[in-house]
């Protein structure tokens, strides 16, 4: 997993609420057995017509946002299916950070496993960031994970909360499984005890 420290980039505004993972990556692209290559089909049915032509007014097709690295989104981003193909597609497109008032639980977890930082901000802050994002490619936002701040193109800065353990993993690009396997003795002990208490499991 790539580290996430600071990011300065173009933010794409997507004010629609309840953007679900079926929208982010439709099911026909879930048949892959790899993690890579999904970026071209990110938001596929919003981004392309049935015959594959770009839909000009979709935000990521507009010249200003073709290289967006941040998305500022409406409430409850990433709801629905648990498919990790959603963060894989975002990452493959180049998105490293999504900011919203709320995220669906599984999507939120999946982001951290892939070096993407999901940031929860209050409604009034998301509105400010959304307006900043609408300014286009000359308005670059800065996300500083260490300092836990998002700064708009005109210098307004807002703090955000992040789980300390997840922050540590993102800052250092750490693999969860490796960390957990350091606790294998605890797992062994738990298993032995559970086998006595609940042998039918």
């Amino acid at each position: 997993m790539d580290k996430f420290t600071t990011l300065t980039g173009v933010a794409a505004p997507m004010p629609l609420v309840n953007i679900d993972t079926d929208m982010i990556i439709p099911k026909q692209f879930l048949k892959t057995i790899q993690r890579s290559g999904l970026g071209k089909n990110l938001f596929d049915e919003m981004r392309y017509t049935q015959d594959g032509a770009e839909i000009a007014d979709f935000v990521l097709n507009q010249p200003a946002y073709r290289k967006a690295e941040i998305i500022v989104a409406g409430d409850n981003f990433g709801c629905g299916s648990s498919r990790e193909h959603a963060p894989w597609a975002l990452l493959d497109f180049g998105i490293r950070c999504v900011i919203s008032t709320s995220f669906a639980d599984i999507f939120f977890n999946n982001c951290f496993k892939n070096g993407i930082l999901p940031i929860v901000m209050p409604q009034e802050v998301v509105e400010v960031l959304m307006e900043d994002a609408k300014k286009g490619e000359n308005a670059r936002m800065t996300v500083d994970l260490e300092a836990q701040t998002v700064t708009t193109s005109d210098g307004q800065s807002f703090g955000f909360e992040v789980d300390p353990f997840r922050k540590h993993c993102l800052l250092n690009g750490l693999d969860d499984i490796g960390l957990t396997l350091e606790k294998v003795a605890s797992i062994d002990t738990f298993e032995a005890k559970a086998n006595l208490l609940r042998p039918w499991v």
């Binding site: 353990f165 605890s186 797992i187």
Partner: protein, 472 residues
């Protein structure tokens, strides 16, 4: 004396392997269910790092998401990408020595139907799967939720998950349900009341007389859609119905182990005075047969209602409703029962169990579907299918004009050839009405199996209670 605990607190406490100072826990996983779509990258990860599956005996795999539901699939799958995924699962199950039900096995079916059916799912367990509808297993009083592929790999390698505890939410359905109202109407009505983010950050415990009165099948339907309300998991405390359902299943404990398990299972309830961070109460008698009109499961209304206008909403939902109505091709003010449909899908992990097929068949008996209607029943497992054939339900469906398919997820997510074409409109017993969910441009109305059957006959969304009056 310990403080009163909720059911969720109790299951959580019994599975904490390690707790860090910031509250991050390592949680032990008792059952890991695996399917072909969200697992290939996880097994590949194990191979690349030389890791093994820590507890293959607690890992159960079954292909369901993209398998065809037509004959001949055990020898050949036409779609190459689907075939590769199913073959990859065959190989991974073999290489890593995990329990497996291939398509040729009568026990194959949707992973969330197979788990309970085979007795893998038991009260008080932690159950995970790379699928958001894992919440289904909460009907047994097990803590069950969906995970992403990275977490699938984590569980395969360590039999644990890194988790923070959610908050407790209680959803109580008091009193009795009225005739024609089912578990599906309960779960949709709850989402209609709380919204799709109403449960975010919570584990829901469903309780109350109307929940107690449900069969295990009905309880699975309710818990299945906890995720659609945003919750990590949905739970129902186990009772005599639960134990009765489990007893004698292939992987249920037997003899002395059964007795020991029963002692533990009977301790799995929320203590008097335990704290819930959020409480929602609905009266069972107030719940009507419902349908969805939009492209979010929260877009729920009684079948007697009318299509809303964007202005009926506030905030970001105004624009979302406008977009939904355009996508769905609906005009505000029109009666929901005037919406014409051309496709009916009965099946999925929400409503693909025997009781669901019985409810639909009861409406269809002696009737024909509307000419031109495309209607299909996709049983949730090979065993549900066999039982429905034995009970004569299959013949009722076939006589009515339904296609009688093999088990799988099918048109719920349309990864296999069962899909809607642009503009087609489907009455579906599944769980998501998202844009494009059942096929690009396809329009989905979620409802109960009985309501789906009624719509198949009339050709439009229909209040099943009218048809029940006819039958009586």
């Amino acid at each position: 004396m310990t403080a009163p605990r909720t059911l969720y607190d109790k299951i959580w406490d019994d599975h904490v392997v390690h707790q860090a100072e910031d509250g991050t826990c390592l949680l032990y996983i008792d059952r890991h269910l695996v399917h072909e779509v969200t697992s290939p990258q996880a097994f590949e990860g194990l191979r690349m790092t030389g890791r093994k599956v820590r507890a293959p005996e607690k890992t159960i795999a079954v292909p369901d998401h993209n398998v065809p539901t037509t004959a001949g699939r055990d020898t050949h799958i036409d779609n190459e990408e689907s075939r590769i995924q199913v073959e990859a699962l065959d190989k991974n199950a073999r290489d890593f020595g995990i329990n497996y039900y291939p398509v040729s096995d009568i026990r194959q079916g949707i992973v969330h139907i197979v788990g309970p059916e085979q007795g893998w799912t038991l009260p008080g367990m932690t159950v995970v799967c790379g699928d958001s509808h894992t919440a289904t297993h909460g009907a047994f009083g097990s803590l069950a939720h969906g995970i992403g592929t990275s977490e699938v790999e984590h569980v395969l390698a360590t039999q644990t998950l890194i988790q923070k505890k959610s908050k407790n939410m209680k959803v109580e359905i008091t009193g009795k349900l009225r005739p024609g109202v089912t578990a599906k109407d309960i779960t949709l009505s709850v989402i209609g009341a709380t919204g799709t983010a109403g449960g975010t950050g919570y584990v829901i415990e469903y309780c109350g007389e109307a929940i107690r009165d449900l069969s295990m099948e009905g309880r699975m339907t309710v818990c299945n859609m906890a995720i659609e309300g945003g919750a990590r998991a949905g739970l129902i405390a186990p009772d005599e119905k639960t134990f009765e359902y489990i007893k004698g299943r292939p992987h249920a404990p037997k003899g002395a182990a059964w007795e020991a398990a029963m002692t533990y299972w009977k301790s799995l309830f929320t203590d008097e005075g335990a704290h819930f961070d959020k409480v929602v109460v609905l009266k069972g008698e107030d719940i009507a047969p419902v349908v969805t009109w939009g492209t979010s499961p929260e877009d729920v209304l009684p079948i007697t209602g009318t299509v809303p206008a964007p202005e009926d909403f506030t905030g970001g939902k105004v624009e979302a409703a406008r977009r939904s109505l355009e996508y769905m091709g609906l005009t505000p003010g029109m009666k929901l029962s005037d919406i014409k449909i051309d496709t009916v899908f009965i099946g999925s992990c929400t409503n693909g169990r025997i009781e669901d097929l019985r409810a639909a068949a009861a409406i269809l008996k002696g009737k024909k579907i509307k000419p031109g209607m495309r209607a299909m029943v996709v049983p949730g497992s090979g065993l549900v299918r066999a039982q429905a054939e034995e009970e004569g339900l299959a013949q009722i469906f076939i006589d009515a004009g339904f296609e009688w398919r093999l088990a799988g997820c099918s048109m719920c997510l349309a990864m296999n050839p069962d899909q809607l074409s642009p503009g087609e409109r489907c009455a579906a017993t599944s769980n998501r009405n998202f844009e494009g969910r059942q096929g690009r441009g396809g329009r989905t109305h979620l409802l109960s199996p009985a309501m789906a059957a009624a719509a198949a006959v009339t050709g439009h969304l229909t209040d099943v209670r009218e048809m029940m009056a006819e039958t009586v």
